[in-house]
Symmetry: none
Subunit: 211 residues, 4 copies
DNA sequence: AATGAATGAGAGTTCATTCAT
DNA sequence: TATGAATGAACTCTCATTCAT
């Protein structure tokens, strides 16, 4: 479909602003991973610093060497996840030899990502209350990626003319609920079943007016 | 599209199980309305019993005469809301003279409902963590409504053959994200703009393979 | 010396703003007394809510029904104490039959008060950091009481002409350090020894230029 | 008035007891200066080791090479300050050609010192809780300086007979509150206004019974 | 001599829930 | 039926101090 531009994450530092030693980097990483897991499992509010630090096997105070607050780790995780989703889709769609295949692979990458990281998906969905504005930012940046590709495809006559933003949000919505129904509700990691993907994809192709 | 079957809500009782007096019914209603407002505004966790009872102008203890716990009011609200959404869509689609119009009106009703009760929409989206299982139940009951109608339409040759569950979830996803983008993010109640609705609807019609 | 105007304290309420029941009033009183004792003994920072509530024999949470924060109880105590000091001095000086005697009795009242409530004295002295501005307010209101009396006395030719504010602060300083040396450092409640009071008083009388 | 005896400070060592290298001495000095500044600005409790070491531009651990604890630096600072106040007053009063002038200059020196180091003054006033006993020691050593001079003056018939300790504490109290009112409350360094000094000084002279 | 990552106890505060009245 | 005072566990966050490097 399109090549998303995915900028690099800023290098991690301590709260004090100092750069991190190898050891510090490892500890920060452990905390971030633990936070991801706990947030995904319990949700923002039921996740507690105690649980996160216990899971990371460090003392409570250690958390605050690397993160300003619970809120801030959450925001960082959402940003991170946003980058990873877009990167996955970008990577996926670049493998296609023509636009149709690229589009298909981009979608498949999105589902594979959701399937591999169901927790991240759960994190995003709670962002609305946990971090005002984060959710909107997340969807909008992904939409922007789609919009570029859709505009191209229209210009090239590959799909019918339409408001690309409406299409982009429609596509994301489809992906979101199909992912929720056939990945998350299955419990544990898994894949969207082949036939579900094909049916959904056919629906989208027809909807977009592809020949 | 289809006529959703919407069963009645069970009659309200006190926690003790006793039926309610007129006065008790009124108090319970006030609490439920207050809870809806506070949950929608602040989210499950930041909504507190104090805030709810203050808004309802009763004492804290009164809350526990009518509801078992914070959790339970929330669940009741989600159920309630689910019934109201389905009722609105059912009502809407019954007004149509043919299936195509019914379908269109059902969709419009959904958006009108979202636009008129943006807070409810926010309640649903947080249900995932606040009340495990509630979200799944919510989507599934709505999907079931769609599925019946879609099956009919396929049998009648009005739309292309496809797995109706996949289609149902795709349709809900589209509605959800379009509603979020063009109603919720606009702040305050409002309507999905005419042209957005038309573009989206055209996409869906094509996708479904309607002639 | 002069009659201080001492306004009444506002009636105590819960944090919510609601008036207190008899029981609530009692609990609030117990907490306030406990806070006074703990602050006096340990200082603002080493006093903790746990210690205060333990001393008052209530649960930690109960504290926050009656007080907004640790800071706020402290401020209330300082205000309270300020009122009580001024009231004691006002009462004392009103007993005198002529100005000289009134002045003497006012001073004596101040020392008696300090002697009876050594803890309060310790509370005031730490207010500088615990509650910015509180200390200044405290001294200034007491100074204002002195200033009125001194002005009268100058007009009546009973003491030499001088800047009454300078005199007021000088008098307070004398009272403060004499009180500290001969009451607080003695440990436990007690009285400024007779001869110390007389020597100090003679010094002040000469300083003021009383005949 | 009198010549205070001001003994030298003990030479600084590391916590381990070892004497310091030139570099070590410099680091220790930097920490001590930073501590003085931070304690003065924030008070004992809000001053943290992190802030002190940041201000001194050394690592946190470095602090504990030179000082046993937060408490101990504070004590050292109070001692230090005590020595400096007494030295300033001693220096000042030695410049006078007769006792009256010496006394006057000693006082003036005290105010100048306060005016130039308002922060130190703030440090002393919080010593009561931060370091039990330190405050008493501070006042007593200054009082001792006064007492010697006052005794002399009485013997020489220059001032009226009285308990010199009472007079000493009265004088310190006057200095303290005048300094607080006209230096500290003005914010930033400054001087006691000329006329305030004169009025206060006249009060003291009369009080002491100087001819 | 100096570093700075790590600790862990303890701080103030919130809030769902209970219960005597 | 309604009250609201009381509870206490759990929360996020701070900071003096230690110690391996």
């Amino acid at each position: 479909m399109s090549t998303w531009h995915v900028d690099d994450a800023p290098p991690p530092t301590a709260v004090s602003g100092k750069p991190l030693s190898k050891k510090g980097e490892r500890t920060r990483r452990r905390l971030l991973d633990a936070a991801e897991e706990i947030f995904a499992e319990l949700g923002y509010h039921d996740a507690s610093i105690v649980k996160i630090t216990e899971s990371a096997q460090v003392a409570q105070g250690t958390f605050y060497i690397y993160f300003e607050s619970k809120q801030q780790v959450f925001d960082e995780l959402v940003d991170d996840l946003n980058r990873r989703v877009r990167f996955a889709m970008s990577e996926g769609s670049q493998r296609g030899t023509d636009r149709a295949e690229a589009e298909r692979l981009g979608f498949a990458a999105f589902f594979r990502f959701t399937a591999e990281h169901p927790g991240l998906y759960r994190i995003i969905r709670q962002a609305e209350f946990a971090s005002p504005g984060a959710l909107q930012r997340h969807y909008q940046t992904i939409a922007d990626g789609y919009i570029g590709g859709l505009r191209q495809a229209m210009a090239d006559g590959e799909i019918a003319e339409a408001d690309p933003e409406v299409l982009a949000f429609a596509l994301m919505g489809i992906g979101e609920l199909i992912g929720m129904r056939w990945v998350l509700w299955q419990g544990g990691p898994g894949e969207v079943p082949e036939h579900v993907f094909e049916e959904m994809y056919a629906f989208i192709r027809r909807g977009l007016g592809s020949p």
